[in-house]
Amino acid sequence: MDVFYFTEMPYAEFPESEAEKFPSMRLTFPNTYFDPKTASGLMNRYLDEYQYAEEMGFDGLMINEHHNTPSCMDVEVNITGGILARITNRAKILMLGNMLPTSDNPVRLAEEIALLDVISGGRIISGFVRGIGIESWANNTNPIHNRERFEECHDLVVKTWTTPGPFRWEGNHYHYRAVNPWMLPVQKPHPPVWVPGTGSPETVEWTARHRYTYAAFLTPLEVAKNLFARYREYAAADGWEPGPEKFAFMICAHVNDTDEKAQESGKAFLWRMNYPLRGPREYWSPPGYTSRAGAAAVAARRPTPLHEMTYRELQDRYHLVVGSPETVIRKLRHIRDELGVGSLLLEAQGGQLSHSDTMRSIELFGKEVIPALKD
């Protein structure tokens, strides 16, 4: 069992009710609320916390990327990945991930990830994501091409890593005369690839077909179970049996000295479950972004949207695990055993959780929770 530390690097330094004045806290929420000096302090704080997470015993550090949103200041995983590659020396660096469909230059992407693998000495896990619908707007990439660009970009990145150059690429969306980057990854044949999902049947099938690790994101346990079962079916049909290393689960998790203290400090996570998850359907799912099958699956994945759940409901349904080390160990073991996952991806800093509460949580995870999940 590998345990990863994760934060979206939020910027929660303004009255959240301001979001009420706009269709969403994402995409069109004005960036006049952003103060670079505040961001500078926060970004450096978050990077310090990642360093401490490695020191305390997390197996891996996970980073992600979004655009036009205060909920995630990381706008380029290959930048923050490069920093982590240099300021840490043991932990895996899970970038989950690079948005393939919005990338106009897959060869550059292959080079950047290879450079990170070189600097980190082969610690990179290369997550590839479709990007939520909002990223199609923010990057102005036609959502109708999302899946085909994802697949072609992936094919080209992997070929760039594994096929001696120079070669030519004349695809539907990408075209190159001489693919021949000097920089290649340390890990052979290439860094592990992970793919997140929240329900799209096509994504599960595609991930299984490539034998990549599938990470279920904030889904109910039952939904994750079904998605993993589908993965196993595809693998069986293909003649192989996936081990736990092919499955990961991402949730929010917070530990403090006692259940009472944790219940109080854990309320900071409600910020990330609220306005950042609201907004018009067109923002989240522009026309063409989701297939009809995918749309049906997404509609079925959560009976109630996260932003309509109470603090209690979020915990009861295992979207947010909060408590003393003992409580959190019990709950995370339950998830591990229910799902048979090889990795837990813990968003352990979320929303308005303060530096001191984050550091204490990291310390308790490292000293008490993570060792107990290894047995």
């Binding site: 707007w137 102005n140 036609n142 959502p143 109708i144 018009p280 359907r281 067109e282 923002y283 522009p286 026309p287 063409g288 009809r292």
Partner: protein, 259 residues
């Protein structure tokens, strides 16, 4: 009331759904991004003088999308192919909104597409001052609210919008919206090179706009007029983006006078 028939014509490797009605010289009617609403009142009136052809663009309605139709220029190529095959070159045409842009792209490609053409609230040219409303980032209900200047003057309101759509109609509208986004995503609803290419146009062109168009700014009427030598402009007062639906009598009068 003249009867229209619904036909399926095989063109360029796919089936094209076409409403056809009336008698007289052919008149090709090209619908907008929202889809083919069928032979509405204005089309019935035009069918008294002309044989009206009202196709659903590839990827819209019941029409197939040949896999190569990815852009407005591809769509224009498709329609010139359709015209050649069906003997419908050098005919009169009306293009609404995105269909107006389509007609303009066809005009820029060949001198024998149309004998006379009307561009109505046409997309395709970037306004200088305003912006073409992004219809994809807002909901279909919000788009509908912007289309009509005064819904109370829409004679076919009940028929077109008075009842909740069936699940099939919702699916159809979703499919139509996906085709629109495929064709017009970027640059959004215009072609920066179109005005220059319209310099070749020599057929009589009538540009018609609703004065209160909330989707494609009325200034675009002037930009089309500048781009097409000898073209004339009519602006219908107190009218939104779809004069043919909102003020069908005024629209038909203007259309018949020109065509």
């Amino acid at each position: 009331m003249l009867n229209f028939t619904e036909e399926t014509i095989s063109v360029a490797g796919g089936n094209l759904q076409v409403y056809k009605g009336g008698s007289g010289d052919p008149l090709l009617v090209l619908h907008g991004a929202g889809g083919n609403a069928g032979p509405r009142r204005y089309a019935q009136a035009l069918a008294e003088q002309f044989t009206v052809y009202l196709p659903s663009h590839p990827g819209y309605g019941k029409s197939d999308r040949p896999g190569w139709v990815e852009s407005m220029q591809d769509l224009a190529c498709f329609y010139t192919w359709f015209q050649e095959q069906e003997g419908l070159e050098n005919v009169r045409a009306i293009g609404f909104s995105m269909g107006g842009w389509l007609a303009a792209e066809m005009l820029s490609m060949t001198g024998h597409a149309f004998s006379k053409v009307m561009l109505v609230g046409a997309a395709g040219i970037k306004p200088n001052d305003g912006e073409i409303t992004d219809i994809f980032i807002i909901s279909p209900a919000q788009v509908r609210d912007l289309v009509y200047h005064d819904p109370s003057q829409v004679p076919e309101w009940d028929e077109l919008l008075g009842t909740d759509p069936t699940p099939e109609q919702v699916q159809q509208a979703e499919g139509d919206r996906e085709m629109a986004i495929r064709l017009t995503w970027r640059p959004y609803m215009h072609n920066p090179r179109l005005p220059a290419k319209l310099g070749r146009v020599s057929v009589p062109t009538h540009i018609l706009w609703g004065e209160n168009d909330n989707l494609v700014p009325v200034e675009c009427a002037g930009l089309y007029q500048q781009a097409i030598a000898g073209s004339q402009v009519t602006v219908i007062p107190n009218c939104g983006h779809s004069p043919q639906i909102e003020k069908p009598d005024d629209f038909v009068q203007a259309a018949l006078a020109f065509l």
